[in-house]
């Protein structure tokens, strides 16, 4: 039993699968975006090549910078998202599931933004500190609607465990259909968390060079990029589990091994669907300003989420009452 758990964590569907799938999703993201822009796009192994090349580059420390903290921050961010991935159901229930792992995953997925802010602050560079401040400002704006939208399935399913919420959807239907507003807000929040267009404000290339990423070089940059790729996998896996029913079909399949394989294929399919939606969103929009995001976030995102919360509470009240 222990050996199986070790294989789950380290190989499949744990860390090795996570890294491989992260690279694959990165390739698909860039290829789809390129084809939509009438370009060719990178070949299949490009993200792997980029990662390996970046690991070999020289690490440049700006003068007076705390080197230990600079080394630790990307590692902390990577560790956080890789741990968060373990709680997401990929082939059926996650073996680490417990009541409240939804809250844990949401918390762990916030840590990369904090790491970026730390890096921006520690860099002793005007562009980086402006970028770091923008990253945290964005966190305040989108985090509240994002959390609320992701907690609504928990409310309806009556459980705090992601795996159980996915299981609940097998009998009662997908939350994407029951709570469509929450689904849309969840996708927008995920795009903001991943800092892609239209929300790539902290990394705005044409305004503040690269924001908090400016002074990252060599292996630190490679690890931070890897963190973002892994967060894409973890984030889409989370949304797939909460809103699209995770690795489960609406009916039961009898031999257990067939159910596992079918579940895995479902997971792949649903995360790919979410990736296509996110890639299209990235291609179709430009970057907005932080104060405009403030406007839009509080006026539209937050009020849509409050509306969704109201609807869910109403449905719950009716269900309990009858």
């Amino acid at each position: 039993m222990d050996l199986l758990l070790v294989i789950y964590v380290l190989l499949f569907p744990g860390f090795l699968f996570l890294l491989a799938y992260g690279f694959l999703l990165q390739y698909l993201d860039r290829k789809i975006a390129a084809r939509m822009q009438a370009r060719v796009g990178p070949p299949l192994l490009q993200p792997v090549a980029d990662f390996i090349k970046m690991l070999g580059k020289e690490v440049i420390d700006p003068a007076g910078v705390d080197r230990a903290a600079f080394d630790a921050a990307p590692l902390m961010a990577l560790a956080a998202v890789m741990t968060a991935f373990l709680y997401i159901p990929i082939v059926g229930e996650s073996p680490f599931a417990f009541q409240g792992d939804l809250v844990l995953v949401l918390y762990l997925l916030t840590l990369p933004t904090i790491a970026l802010f730390l890096l921006g602050w520690l860099s002793r560079n005007v562009f980086s500190s402006v970028g770091g401040v923008r990253a945290v400002t964005m966190l305040f704006i989108y985090e509240v609607p994002f959390f609320l939208a992701l907690l609504m399935p928990a409310l309806m399913a009556g459980s705090w465990s992601i795996s159980e919420i996915a299981g609940w959807q097998q009998e009662h239907g997908w939350f994407a259909l029951l709570q469509p507003i929450g689904f849309v807000v969840g996708l927008i929040g995920l795009q903001a968390k991943l800092e892609r267009q239209p929300f790539d404000i902290p990394e705005a290339e044409t305004e503040i060079v690269a924001g908090p990423w400016t002074e990252l070089t060599g292996r630190r940059l490679a690890l931070m990029h890897l963190t973002m790729q892994v967060m894409l996998v973890a984030g889409s896996g989370l949304i797939a589990a909460l809103f699209l029913g995770g690795p489960l079909l609406p009916w039961n399949i009898s031999p257990a091994w067939l159910a596992t394989i079918a579940g895995f294929l479902m997971f792949l399919g649903k995360t790919l669907l979410i990736l296509v939606i996110l890639a299209s969103l990235k291609v179709a929009t430009g970057r907005i300003r932080i104060d405009q995001l403030n406007d839009i976030g509080w006026k539209y995102l937050a009020s849509a989420t409050i509306l969704q919360v109201g609807i869910v509470l109403l449905m719950d009240y009716i269900r309990v009452g009858t």
Binding site: R35, M36, Q37, A38, A284
Partner: protein, 120 residues
């Protein structure tokens, strides 16, 4: 917004616009000002090309060859030598040469590492 989405979908379903050089090549139109070349048999050594070049990349070196032009034989006293990478490909030398001895070929001028390489 719908215009953007429609164009995105159209592009997704069609071939990309990129030309995969050097596997695919761009057709070069006639009259393109490419590599500079000296046609030795036609040059009469009048030095007009050297005088008219804006970049001063053509120098005339002493020579003593017999050239046949329009049925008559003359002895050419000088011939041009071009610094290939200083040429700005404006085509003035080709325009002012009386015997079509210095031309711009329809080939892309390539890159090299020797700044002082000469064409003669």
């Amino acid at each position: 917004m719908s215009g953007v989405l429609r164009e995105m979908l159209e592009n997704l379903c069609s071939k990309p616009f990129t030309i995969l050089y050097p596997k695919e090549k761009v057709p070069i139109p006639k009259g393109f000002r490419g590599k500079i070349a000296v046609v030795d048999e036609k040059c009469i050594g009048c030095s007009r090309c050297a005088r008219v070049c804006p970049a001063e990349c053509i120098t005339m070196i002493p020579d003593n060859t017999e050239i046949e032009v329009k049925g008559k034989k003359i002895v050419r006293k000088k011939r041009p030598v071009v610094k290939f990478f200083r040429c700005i490909r404006c085509g003035l030398c080709e325009q002012y040469c009386p015997s079509e001895a210095i031309i711009m070929k329809c080939e892309l001028s390539e890159s090299g590492t020797d700044k002082e390489v000469l064409v003669q």
